[in-house]
Symmetry: C2
Subunit: 241 residues, 2 copies
């Protein structure tokens, strides 16, 4: 499985992905699920994938090849983020259509976030069918993959105007909850933040199991939760006796 | 959908169920999913259901009818909780086998907890296939239905030796997380606590939306989480810039 979250906030875009893939519990590997495209000063596009690994790798490879070998109709030539999302959706269908009719799940989903000069930053959730929806101020984040364990903290604490550093803590806690409850999601995590209108293609960072900051907030969060739980008043005596 | 959780703890058994059923988002209703069987002083059996409502109602009705009309092979005659779980599993198959071969999902799962004189308290998770597993000290709780949103808090805070009043708070927080993130799970909640070796069939309690205690801990929990999150140290500056 996989877990990816992307946020489109007032200050910028935040992306975090895990890197565990599994075909059964005895076939576990590490694969990056966060891909960066862009031209410094002009466009930045960050893609995250969940689902069939052969499909997502094929889509990303075709997208990269076409940047190198085609003169138009690729991620470095499209004029808008909408066109970029559509191109990815169509490339996804091009790949999955090859394997149609076979009894296996070749599907995959993508999150695409970024900014192209002349537009505001955008974030899209691209479905296995190739169509997509955009994040709004009301719904500033998307998840793909094993999303349920990590959703409550986002629903409680993440808003469009949440500052990036707080949103990042929130994302890491969301990953902590998912990793604790589901074996198929695991470190290292790939993390990338884009500051709106910077048109700077960031390096991103990979967090390993022994990352001191991640481990510190994981344990502080866990202790904090225990304390909040312990401080909740006990149920009234007629409540359950 | 549905969300039910049951816990088998050192002090007793804790059961909480929601009561929302839906066949599409425009067909929502309230149905109890927690059923109590028992003979004061001799046995207590608590059943929770998730899945096809026609199936679970049929199973519960057959179980009740047979207590009234049969002399043996029913929930008030079986000698052990294992036999009770097996009886429920077989009754479930009896019902679903009637509808076999049709293209619809008739399946349903049950949690069964309780105690019969001469045995320790038990908790079983009965699968749609009719077989079942028992809770242990290592794994003191089961969930059925929409279980993922509410799992992280249980994984962090619930142990076999957790006192009942704390376990109950933990269960209610687990429901709060689920209700916030998934429309198909809703109040009222049915709540029941059995104190081990009491052989007392408890009344249970129904918590409505305006329950003052539930609302108090929901808001205290939410505020507490926000505070813990705000107090986490911000990421190091080289972490994402």
């Amino acid at each position: 499985m996989t877990y990816c979250v992307a946020m489109r906030l007032q200050e910028g875009l935040v992306f975090v992905s895990d890197s565990r893939t599994n075909a059964g519990v005895d076939h576990i590997a590490v694969f990056r699920k966060l891909y960066v495209f862009g031209l410094e000063g002009e466009r930045i596009l960050v893609l995250q994938s969940a689902g069939n690994l052969a499909t997502s790798q094929a889509v990303v490879t075709l997208l990269r090849q076409r940047i190198q070998h085609e003169t138009a109709g690729h991620l470095h030539s499209v004029k808008t983020m909408y066109d970029a999302a559509d191109l990815i959706g169509q490339t996804l269908l091009e790949v999955t259509n090859k394997y149609k009719g076979q009894d296996a799940d070749f599907s995959c989903s993508f999150l695409l976030g970024g900014q192209i000069l002349g537009e505001d930053p955008k974030l899209y959730n691209i479905y296995p069918q190739g169509n997509f929806i955009a994040a709004t101020q009301d719904t500033p984040y998307f998840q793909i993959g094993e999303s349920k364990y990590g959703k409550p903290i986002l629903d409680r604490a993440l808003y469009f105007d949440t500052p990036i550093d707080k949103a990042l803590r929130c994302a890491l806690i969301s990953f902590d909850s998912t990793i604790r409850s589901n074996l198929s999601v695991g470190t290292p995590l790939d993390l990338l933040v884009y500051q709106n209108h910077s048109f700077h293609v960031p390096q991103g960072r990979r967090l390993f199991d022994d990352d001191p900051y991640f481990n510190m907030i994981r344990s502080q969060w866990s202790e904090g939760l225990q304390q909040v739980l312990a401080q909740l008043p006990p149920p009234p005596s007629d409540y359950w006796q």
